[in-house]
């Protein structure tokens, strides 16, 4: 509607014209208002999926509701909104990968990032890009999308907060097997440097570990731990949540990181006696709000129509 039509249109608006003719005049008009890429990070998030809209409205308050119904999380802002500033991220490794081309080698960087709060949620993301910062940013987003819950338990008396893994759990990735064994309070994390960092972030205070296989292959090590934790969580008992912040900074043995992640993923998949009770199924967030909104509204439209007829 602004007067920026081409000469032959006089004052008529350009509308959504063909792009080709206007390629030269790219950033005029209202685009200029935003400035040259003044994309502030706090720019309002406009949700693209239904789950995103529900989260933005505030109808969903915790990640556990999403886990309960196995809803796929497609927007990382959902995790941001729900976990907020508790979520920390750390780059585990930047690895250059090369591709042979006629003109030499093309190097790109692969970033491995782990995010988590220290209260039972961890995620792992991998991204390859031409520049390191792009790779890191992309990996952080992917990590947020893959956040899983982790379960903690007790070694003996159920006094105080859960502090160790609920049971002996083992995870395997490639040749690396990692075994987490519950430990009494005060034992601390008895583990190699790599899984120790992982478990510290997970909030597991005491655990014995035993790893086997070529733990130098870092990916395996991590994967095993992650799968262990995931196994604990297949049944819906969110009482014990292992801190799962996998933020390993100096990740020398990257494959063992995979093994540890695998371990931690299994924590909620392990059936223990306290999970024997039948689950009471609840309604998915999409269903829940249908009933709320399907309340019949009376025909209070009478007042509206008064104004219309005039």
């Amino acid at each position: 509607m602004a007067e920026r039509g081409a000469g032959d249109r006089g004052g008529f608006g350009r509308g959504f014209g063909r792009g080709r003719g206007d390629r030269g005049r790219g950033d005029r008009g209202r685009g200029g208002r935003r400035g040259g890429g003044q994309r502030d990070e706090e720019e309002k998030w406009v949700p693209v999926t239904k789950l995103g809209r529900l989260v933005k409205e505030g109808k969903i308050t915790s990640l556990e509701q999403i886990y309960l119904h196995s809803l796929p999380v497609k927007e990382h802002q959902i995790v941001d909104t729900l976990l907020g500033n508790r979520l920390k991220d750390e780059v585990m490794k930047i690895m250059p990968v090369q591709k042979q081309t006629r003109a030499g080698q093309r190097t790109r960087f692969k970033a491995f990032v782990v995010v988590g709060d220290s209260d039972g949620h961890v995620g792992l993301g991998v991204k390859c890009a031409k520049e390191v910062a792009t790779a890191i940013r992309g990996a952080i987003i992917l990590a947020k999308l893959s956040v899983v819950p982790v379960r903690r338990g007790y070694w003996g008396n159920k006094i105080g907060k859960p502090h160790t893994v609920p049971c002996k759990v083992t995870g395997k990735c490639g040749s690396v097997t990692v075994r987490l064994v519950p430990a009494p309070r005060g034992a601390g994390i008895v583990a190699a440097r790599v899984p120790k960092k992982v478990l510290q972030f997970a909030g597991i205070e005491d655990v014995y570990t035993s790893s086997r296989g070529s733990t130098k292959t870092l990916g395996n090590f991590v994967k095993v731990s992650f799968s262990l934790i995931i196994n604990f969580y297949i049944f819906i008992e969110i009482r014990v949540i292992v801190d799962f912040a996998f933020c390993i900074l100096h990740l020398i043995h990257f494959v063992s990181l995979q093994a540890t992640f695998d371990c931690l993923m299994k924590t909620y998949g392990f059936l223990t006696p306290d999970l024997w009770l039948d689950t009471r199924f609840s309604r998915s967030p999409f269903q829940e709000y249908t009933d709320l909104l399907a309340k019949p509204t009376k025909a209070i439209l009478i007042e509206n129509t008064e104004r219309i007829e005039a």
């Binding site: 994309r39 406009v46 910062a133 994967k223």
Partner: protein
């Protein structure tokens, strides 16, 4: 560019600063990230209109929600065109854009209208239908119409509107339904003879929600309606139906205006890279689990592209080389799925697509039966043909999010 395979090329050693790093060769050729063919895309974003009267039809607006501003106010689509083919309810107005083609005379004014049935179950049925071959006439619950006029026409002056509040179209259009304000009001209320309706359902709803009381008054008091002649009401009074979507204007912006970003600082020290030993298939497992499959990759690039301007609701690019931005890799049409133009039998080309952000702005609810889509893509006749029908139906393709989660 050749793609590498696992067994062909050995690992290479590369020395960087102090650390000796074994660098991994890529095993799979990833999606080409050098998509340097930057298509020229125009974005549409939502804006509150300065005044509702700026959205009247003689000002050729691009808008969403509310009621449509018909370009040709007389010969509106009726009957089957205005209904959802599944539930027989009249369709609800989603948006319209003003997209003239300056090269041809007959398309000096050109508007595209999109109508959709607000029921999700109809949209799911529509999904099946859109995959049908073009010989059969598919039933749709979402429809797009194109209307074009030359500069000299019977409805609007050839001079551009002055936008000072005094502009008027040259003639009065047909009367619209008093309930929805969208479709032509062909049926008249037998009581007061003033209210018009496009279908019986709307008449019933209007009656229940207040016309019952007013009808009586109108007959006896002959209360002044804005125009005593049967014709459209030019002032933007609110129509009776309250379930229409809120009205907004669509502002036009260029995508490349958002492109200028601070270049990344690749200052990350290469020396912090550490030794990496032989990788194995466990590494691949990690990649599979956390990196991508086709769908995730499409989704990732979709998110990246829209993050330049998160509030976009529409992407316009009428170019033969242009491709729509698909959020998912499943559910995309192939060449055989896109039919020929109904009227001139010429080929269709992609014109614009509607993004899911618009659902957020329109305040669509989030229950199980409310609308939700991945993207809606509109294909129009390449030649923008003239035909006897004033409002020509074009082809529309909907990509929905899958209902079962893809792991």
């Amino acid at each position: 560019m050749d793609s590498d395979t696992n067994d062909v090329l050995p690992l290479q050693e590369l020395s960087l600063d102090e650390a000796i790093t074994e660098v991994e060769l890529e095993e799979s050729y990833e999606e080409d990230e050098e998509d340097e063919l930057e298509e020229y895309v125009t974005l549409g974003t939502i804006e509150k209109p300065k005044h509702p009267k700026f959205l009247l039809r003689h000002l050729f607006p691009s808008k969403t929600g509310g009621t449509p501003a018909w370009l040709d106010p007389v010969e509106l689509p009726t009957g089957k065109f205005s209904r959802c083919d599944f539930c027989e309810e009249p369709l609800q107005f989603l948006l319209q854009i003003y997209a003239p083609i300056p090269e041809k005379e007959s398309t000096f004014h050109r508007m595209l209208y999109v109508f959709i049935c607000p029921s999700m179950s109809c949209l799911l049925q529509d999904q099946h239908e859109q995959w049908k071959r073009r010989e059969e006439d598919p039933r749709r619950s979402i429809k797009v119409f194109r209307c074009q006029l030359p500069r000299l026409n019977a409805f609007y002056s050839s001079e551009p509107p002055r936008k000072d509040g005094n502009d008027k179209p040259l003639s009065v259009g047909a009367a619209l339904c008093s309930w929805c304000g969208t479709w032509k009001g062909e049926k008249v209320c037998s009581g007061c003879k003033q209210a018009r309706y496009c279908c019986e359902k709307h008449q019933a709803m209007h009656w229940k929600s207040g016309h019952k009381n007013r009808c009586h008054h109108i007959i006896h008091n002959l209360e002044s309606i804005s125009s005593s002649l049967p014709g459209e009401k030019l002032s933007r009074d609110k129509v009776a139906c309250s379930s229409l979507w809120p009205e907004y204007e669509i502002a036009i912006e260029d995508e490349c205006a958002y492109d200028a970003e601070a270049s990344e600082d690749a200052s990350y020290e290469a020396s912090s890279l550490v030794t990496q030993h032989v990788t194995d298939d466990t590494y691949q497992f990690l990649l599979d689990k956390f990196e991508a499959d086709d769908n995730k990759r499409s989704w990732a690039s979709f998110q990246e592209r829209i993050s330049k301007c998160p509030s976009q609701v529409l992407r316009y690019s009428r170019d033969l080389m242009a491709n729509p931005l698909w959020p998912l890799s499943i559910g995309r049409p192939t060449m055989t799925n896109i039919p020929k133009c109904k009227y001139c039998n010429g080929s269709l080309c992609y014109e614009f697509q509607i993004m899911p952000q618009i659902l957020y702005y329109l305040g669509v609810k989030n229950d199980s039966d409310s609308l939700d889509w991945g993207t809606i893509v509109i294909y129009t006749c390449l030649a923008s043909c003239e035909a006897s029908a004033r409002y020509k139906e074009e082809f529309i393709w909907v990509q929905l999010y899958p209902t079962t989660p893809i792991s």
